[in-house]
């Protein structure tokens, strides 16, 4: 298939380019790579103070609970937001050389995945620090993240495609993402916070919320996430990605010519 052939061919570029982006990000800042740790850590402290102290939440291990939320949300949010402008922002490249356009999304995903791994590192340190009992279920992190990556990839491809044609998509998307943010339960438990059937439904219908729910189960509560739900979202994510790829392959000629 064309996708895999080109993936093999351009993978090296994507990785190198992602490395360069990460290097450039810290090269000129005073605290250097410490920012990658400080940023999620400080956000966690703010949330923990506001919701833990002021709103008196009763969620166990609240700081870790939040940190997992931030880790998952940041990846999705940043990726989707940058995807809107991705074609326009890289016009100088794509108007002069052919590249499969999804490589742009992939490159961005690599950058964000690296930051996510740092975040995960902090979480593991905190799990040890708070003496959270972990078990074999922690291994579920990998399939969950795998599904999550494919889901985000699919979403971003579709957003990237429409971002070329719809000039104010950024504004609209900002509002939608804000809404999704509150329905995802970064700082609260979706299932328990809404009245009876709705919380349960929302937690399963909203993929970001569901995968967040799964990964919290695996990391924090040593419970097995629902493999059926995970498989369903895996299939949906694959379909989303396929739609995205089809859109992009069919329209990539026009992207170059759009000014």
């Amino acid at each position: 298939m064309r996708f895999f052939k080109e993936l093999k061919q351009y993978w090296g570029f994507a990785v190198y380019s992602a490395k360069c982006d990460l290097k450039a990000e810290v090269a000129n800042s005073y605290l250097n790579w410490l920012w990658w740790i400080l940023e999620p850590f400080c956000t966690m402290i703010i949330y923990a103070l506001v919701f833990g102290v002021a709103f008196k939440t009763d969620v166990a291990y609240f700081p870790i609970f939040i940190l997992i939320g931030i880790m998952m949300w940041d990846f999705f949010n940043r990726l989707v937001m940058t995807s809107v402008e991705m074609i326009r922002g890289n016009q100088h490249i794509i108007s002069r050389v052919y590249m499969p356009k999804y490589i742009l999304v992939l490159q961005r995903m690599l950058v964000l995945a690296f930051k996510m791994m740092i975040n995960l590192g902090i979480i593991i340190v905190m799990l040890i620090f708070f003496r959270v009992p972990v078990g074999i279920n922690i291994l579920f992190v990998f399939p969950i993240l795998f599904v999550y990556f494919i889901f985000c990839f699919g979403c971003s491809l579709i957003i990237m495609h429409f971002g070329v044609y719809v000039s104010d998509l950024t504004n609209a998307l900002g509002i939608i993402l804000n809404f999704v943010y509150f329905l995802t339960g970064i700082f609260y438990n979706v299932q328990d916070s809404f009245p009876a059937p709705y919380g349960y439904l929302l937690q399963r219908i909203n993929p970001v919320a569901h995968l967040l729910f799964c990964i919290r189960k695996a990391l924090l509560y040593n419970e097995t996430p629902s493999c059926i739900m995970l498989s369903i979202w895996f299939v949906i994510s694959i379909i989303l990605s396929a739609i995205g790829l089809k859109l992009i392959y069919e329209n990539e000629n026009d992207y170059v010519k759009m000014v």
């Binding site: 061919q9 090296g12 570029f13 190198y16 380019s17 360069c20 982006d21 290097k23 450039a24 090269a27 000129n28 100088h92 490249i93 794509i94 108007s95 002069r96 050389v97 052919y98 590249m99 044609y165 719809v166 000039s167 104010d168 998509l169 609209a172 990539e252 000629n253 026009d254 170059v256 010519k257 759009m258």
Partner: protein, 245 residues
């Protein structure tokens, strides 16, 4: 004797959709559907280029020269017709492809090279040559945004001219930098172009450049071939035509 054909262009048509951007806000307020106007830049062009040949493309602004060249480079595929490169590697010689301003010159060598389809190892083997040719010295490890425009184009030229492909497409980038570097880059260009195994297509406005470099010239007028053939003949008729208008 039949010669090996390197580029085969058959009935190629390329159009641009002159589309106004769709906006949610605008479409909610008034429901006038934006109609896409179609502008045809290349209107059915066929020609072959033999291996080792140097073909010049001339024509006035907006005649579709650059569009055709970009289609041959694969930046976009033609709307109708076919371009067959017979599996040769191709590059459009344009300066600073994929440059990121915040990165060092060295990183940009790799980025640009890998984007043009070379592996990291291949770029690595050319790295020293590129740095030497660019004459940047210690500046190679400084961010590109600190470069002067001359330094920028020297580096860009060094990269594109060091990463050689079977087919080279040139769009008006024949000399850059100060006078010394201009001579050097022109010499490098001539060396690349005159390689018997390399097929070259040059788009230019400059009659003297094409006269010295090309074996054959194609005159593109308003998206169609007006004349194709021997360099002297085509350039002479082009010159006469241009003097009339």
């Amino acid at each position: 004797m039949s010669k090996e054909i390197s580029i085969e262009v058959k009935d190629v048509k390329i159009h641009y959709k002159m589309m106004k951007k769709f906006s949610i806000q605008r479409n909610l307020l008034k429901r006038d559907a934006d109609k896409a106007e179609i502008f045809e830049a290349v209107k059915g062009v066929s020609f072959d280029v033999e291996k080792g040949e140097i073909l010049g493309i001339i024509g006035k602004n907006g005649s579709g020269k650059s569009t055709l060249l970009r289609a041959i480079a694969g930046v976009f595929s033609p709307n109708e017709g076919e371009i067959d490169l017979k599996d040769h590697s191709v590059s459009l010689l344009s300066l600073g492809v994929g440059f990121k301003d915040t990165l060092s010159g060295r990183s940009n060598i790799f980025l640009s090279g890998m984007l043009l389809g070379f592996s990291e190892e291949e770029v690595k083997s050319k790295e020293a040559d590129i740095i030497e040719f660019s004459e940047l010295g210690k500046f190679i490890d400084m961010p590109v945004k600190t470069y002067s425009s001359g330094m920028y184009s020297k580096l860009a030229f060094a990269i594109t001219s060091s990463l050689e492909t079977d087919i080279m497409l040139v769009d008006e980038v024949l000399s850059v930098g100060d006078e010394h570097f201009q001579k050097k880059s022109l010499a490098r260009m001539e060396e690349l172009i005159n390689d018997r195994n390399r097929t070259v297509v040059i788009v230019s406005h400059s009659i003297p450049t094409l006269r010295t470099l090309c074996n054959r010239v194609l005159w593109l007028d308003d998206g169609l071939i007006r004349e194709i053939g021997d360099t002297e003949t085509v350039l002479n008729s082009y010159e006469t035509y241009m003097n009339q208008v």
